[in-house]
């Protein structure tokens, strides 16, 4: 029977790799403000052929709500996973277990 090693567990926790950020907080692009949004506010069309797609980054294209909604999505998946894990044995078994 395996014993739960608190020290090993705590050490593992302390050395966890940094959690990857799926969507960094958005940044404001002056180029997008002037060439896209200010035009749209005045009911003008934005010329796709003239728009320079290298003048802004993906971070400039991340709305403020996106990182929050991804964090909520992440939390929902973690809760779902926890629900499955609760149904499994705490110690290793000799048979396969399916959720």
């Amino acid at each position: 029977m395996f014993e739960f090693n608190v020290a090993a567990f705590a050490n593992r926790l302390a050395n966890l790799p940094e959690r990857p950020v799926l969507a960094k907080a958005g940044t404001h692009s002056r180029y997008l403000q002037e060439n896209v949004f200010d035009e749209l506010k005045q009911d003008h069309q934005v010329d796709l052929l003239a728009l320079d797609f290298d003048a802004f980054t993906f971070q400039d294209l991340t709305p403020e709500s996106r990182s929050k909604s991804l964090a909520q999505h992440n939390s929902a998946w973690a809760k779902c996973f926890n629900r499955f894990v609760k149904q499994t044995h705490a110690t290793p078994q000799d048979e396969q277990a399916f959720f």
Binding site: L22, L49, L61, W77
Partner: protein, 185 residues
């Protein structure tokens, strides 16, 4: 951020187009010439069409029983991710084909359902080193800009993971080569 009520839709569409320019430049030019402008009348159609062009290979079918479309996509980023998952599992000594398939499926489901209910059901089919993803669309939900943003996040995540895997492999090979060189000397 840009003081515009529907900036989420505009930013989603632009992110799809930006990634399309990186991944499929010829298709990007074709879409740009086709639509010419970014305006509200055609924005959803633009986002929808551009999103599916992001994948290397796309097939579309209509399922009369469910009154919905089924899209099957293949992409080298998904193939490489599947190959890398298998390699890592084998290297760890605990390889399970089912577990690897479920991991790929869960990763895709995680991203494709992040902010949109566009996908009603999804299945992944793996054969050798390639994977295809079949998506049944929700019959009464159409959120092209949100779905497009989710696809962009997915593909960028897969590319980043594949790049990390390639860097790890390169580092290991370089280390091994140095050891062999040292032993030979």
């Amino acid at each position: 951020m840009y003081e515009y009520d529907y900036e989420g839709d505009v930013l989603g569409t632009l992110s799809v187009l930006k990634l399309l320019k990186e991944r499929q430049p010829a298709r990007f030019e074709s879409i740009r010439k086709n639509f010419k402008t970014l305006d509200w009348q055609y924005m959803e159609e633009l986002a929808w069409e551009a999103t599916w062009e992001l994948f290397d290979d796309v097939e579309n079918d209509f399922v009369p029983d469910y009154e919905t479309d089924v899209w099957t996509v293949k992409d080298k980023a998904i193939d490489q991710f599947w190959i890398n998952i298998q390699k890592r599992a084998r290297a760890s000594g605990s390889y399970s084909d089912v577990a690897c398939r479920e991991l790929v499926r869960d990763t895709l489901a995680y991203f494709l359902g992040a902010s949109s209910y566009t996908i009603g059901q999804m299945e992944c089919y793996m054969h050798g080193g390639s994977a295809s993803v079949k998506m049944w669309l929700s019959p009464d939900i159409y959120e092209p800009t949100l779905f497009g943003a989710d696809v962009v996040t997915l593909l960028r995540y897969l590319q980043a993971e594949n790049d990390k895997s390639a860097a790890r492999t390169k580092k290991r090979k370089s280390k091994r080569a140095k050891i062999i060189e040292k032993e030979a000397a």
